[in-house]
């Protein structure tokens, strides 16, 4: 390829990071839930999709993207908590298969309900006026919104880090992710913690939905491919490791972006190859087993 200039590579890198941002966000939610509840949430992609739909809905309702950035995750998180309380909770202690398959069934229902409410074709999603258009980074033009996306992800991850490292709730999560017994010993109502963690994880999925909506078509099936991708990221990073989720998210984003440049047809495959290699060399994933934020 003749036109492989440094500028192009640099721009490609930025693109990869922007892609990775969404991956990371999704994986963080998955990883949080798995780390604490050892529940493999197959409805994660569906919660992401619901987030995208509700995001647009609340944006048009309130006329403010920022407002919907707050409301939507709250609503999605609430749905998540309902799911945990009435569907997932009865399955604790039954191994990982059952919750996994139950959430899979749940995803079907979420997809269909969005079809019923918002229609099979989905909703047109507009980029918030302030973030429209593209800016010249000196290495080429890049969409302003995707830059904002990178920023937003950084903020969310930082906030999460503070929550987990600096608060009592975080302490409990860290303890719980290693051994639920400890939490009981601490005299905490574990059930409540699990409820909150599941809510938090799904809320983050919803948030990534709102953030991703302006960059792509919003339709009921949008969560299906996303699910596979975010699993790859979570597993590469090591289930239950937030740090892993973030690092792997960016890694996968960049790998995907670079293969799209050098061998576009293999872009999709590349992330699966990456996962296979990582797991065969390190069966626990990059940051597996290590503590949540380690």
């Amino acid at each position: 390829m003749g036109e492989l200039t440094p500028q192009l590579l640099a721009l490609q890198l930025v693109t990869g990071v922007a892609l990775g941002a969404i991956y990371a966000l999704l994986a963080v939610g998955l990883s949080l839930i798995f780390g604490m509840l050892t529940v493999v949430n197959f409805a994660h992609g569906a919660f992401f999709m619901v987030g995208a739909f509700l995001g647009i809905y609340f944006q048009t309702l309130t006329g403010s993207f920022l407002l919907s950035l707050v409301i939507t995750p709250a609503v999605v998180g609430a749905v998540g908590m309902l799911a945990e309380r009435f569907l997932v909770r009865p399955l604790y202690g039954r191994g990982i298969d059952y919750p996994l398959l139950l959430t899979f069934g749940l995803s079907y229902i979420l997809i269909e309900s969005m079809r019923v409410v918002f229609g099979i074709e989905g909703l047109p999603s507009a980029t918030p006026a302030a973030l429209r258009g593209s800016v010249d980074l000196g290495i080429g033009r890049f969409p302003l919104y995707r830059l904002a996306l990178i920023g937003a992800t950084a903020v969310v991850v930082l906030g999460l880090w503070l929550l987990i490292e600096k608060t009592r709730f975080g302490l409990i999560i860290r303890a719980g992710s290693r051994d639920p017994e400890i939490v009981r010993v601490l005299g905490v109502d574990v059930a409540k913690v699990w409820l909150l963690v599941f809510g938090l994880g799904t809320a983050i999925a919803g948030l990534s939905g709102v953030l991703a909506a302006p960059t792509r078509a919003v339709n009921p099936e949008m969560g299906i491919t996303v699910l596979a991708e975010s699993f790859v990221v979570t597993v590469v990073g090591g289930m239950g490791s937030l740090m892993g989720a973030v690092v792997a998210g960016l890694l996968v984003g960049v790998v995907f972006s670079m293969t799209s440049l050098l061998a576009p047809e293999f872009a999709e495959l590349s992330i699966f190859v990456l996962m296979a290699i990582v797991l065969l060399v390190r069966p626990q994933g990059l940051f597996g087993k290590a503590g949540l934020m380690a």
Binding site: L91, Y108, I109, E112, A228, L269, M275, L279, L280, P283
Partner: protein
């Protein structure tokens, strides 16, 4: 008295489970709205049974089994379309290829455990998917492989025309019967006991002196072989091989069928496949929101019949059986 009646029946079924299932399958088409559905149930029933060998009996949840269904389908299809092989040879090729791919994937995947195992099988399965997707000149790529047609032929003096649905059903049933016989033998064999031991407690199985790694590879290959046969038959059934047969959603289907019917039981997966496909068929023709219905039914099953339809029946029966310790079925063939 009712319990003992059920018990007697189930006992009989368990003793001669293959005979029982065949007797049922012989009249099965009469119960189905149309033959193509019955054939699908045969094929996916077999697919689920093969998958269950790994999932239900050895406790390894693979998300990559579509690879074996697909490879079986494609290799059989390609042997007919490109190499013009005899159908029997084509089936053999498909099954052998599936076994080989099973050996490769199994060999790599068993290094990992739990969800990581599931994910590695998923990834390797996707790699197979992609390989066939890209080999467009041989596989037809996304358009799928077309023209897998078999001219009418003679078997044991009988003329078989695969465009005749009834003939096709019994033709395919013949192979399914053989495969079920094999699976039944595997489960009743010494190795059958070993894989259950591995499912129950890997550490202890090692301490007992069993080479767990090799046992896992062997069961993986056996499972792949069965699923490969299901694939081969599907190619003959549909006369096309859709690329979707390699997709991970197809792997997911095997899991659902096992779960609906009851994993770790002999009939369970078959029952699951029947319920799954029949429900899908009925529901889709009634409402466009079939996904919601299927999803809901699925959740209800996991919450209230975690053992699946057949599994729950078995559980009830065994409770009554353990009251009479002299039930041979319990110790020899294990759960039917």
């Amino acid at each position: 008295m009712k319990a003992t009646g059920v018990h007697a029946l189930m006992d009989l079924v368990a003793r001669h489970r293959v005979v029982a299932v065949l007797a049922f399958l012989l009249v099965f088409p009469l119960l189905m709205p149309y033959e193509a559905l019955a054939v699908n149930i045969l094929i996916f029933g077999l697919y689920a049974v093969g998958f269950n060998l790994l999932f239900g009996y050895t406790g390894m949840l693979s998300f990559g089994h579509a690879a074996f269904l697909g490879v079986g389908s494609y290799l059989t299809g390609m042997s007919i379309v490109h190499a013009h092989l005899h159908w029997l040879l084509a089936i053999a090729v498909g099954v052998a290829a599936a076994a080989l791919v099973g050996l490769l994937i199994g060999h790599l995947a068993i290094r990992t455990r739990g969800i990581y195992f599931s994910m590695v099988t998923l990834a390797l399965g996707q790699i197979v998917y992609f390989a066939f997707y890209k080999a467009e000149s041989w596989t037809g790529g996304e358009n799928g492989l077309r023209g897998v047609t078999v001219a009418p032929f003679e078997v044991l003096g009988l003329r078989v025309d695969l465009t005749n649905p009834i003939a096709k059903y019994y033709f395919i049933l013949g192979f399914v019967a053989l495969a079920l016989g094999l699976v039944s033998r595997i489960l009743a064999s010494p190795f059958g006991a070993v894989i259950e031991a591995i499912r129950e407690n890997e550490k202890r199985a090692l301490a007992c002196g069993y080479d767990v790694a090799r046992s896992k590879i062997l069961v993986f290959v056996l499972s792949a072989t069965i699923c490969g046969l299901a694939g081969s038959l599907r190619a003959l059934h549909l006369s096309v091989v859709p690329i979707d047969s390699l997709h991970y959603l197809q792997s997911g289907q095997a899991v659902m069928m096992c779960l609906l019917g009851g994993m770790g039981t002999f009939f369970g997966p078959f029952v699951g496949a029947a319920i799954f496909l029949y429900l899908e068929d009925v529901v889709t023709s009634l409402t466009r929101h079939w996904m919601a219905v299927v999803g809901a039914i699925f959740i209800l099953f996991i919450l209230f019949f975690p053992r699946g339809v057949w599994g729950s029946l078995m559980a009830r029966w065994q409770r009554s059986a353990t009251r009479e310790p002299s039930s041979p079925a319990v110790e020899q063939s294990g759960p039917a």
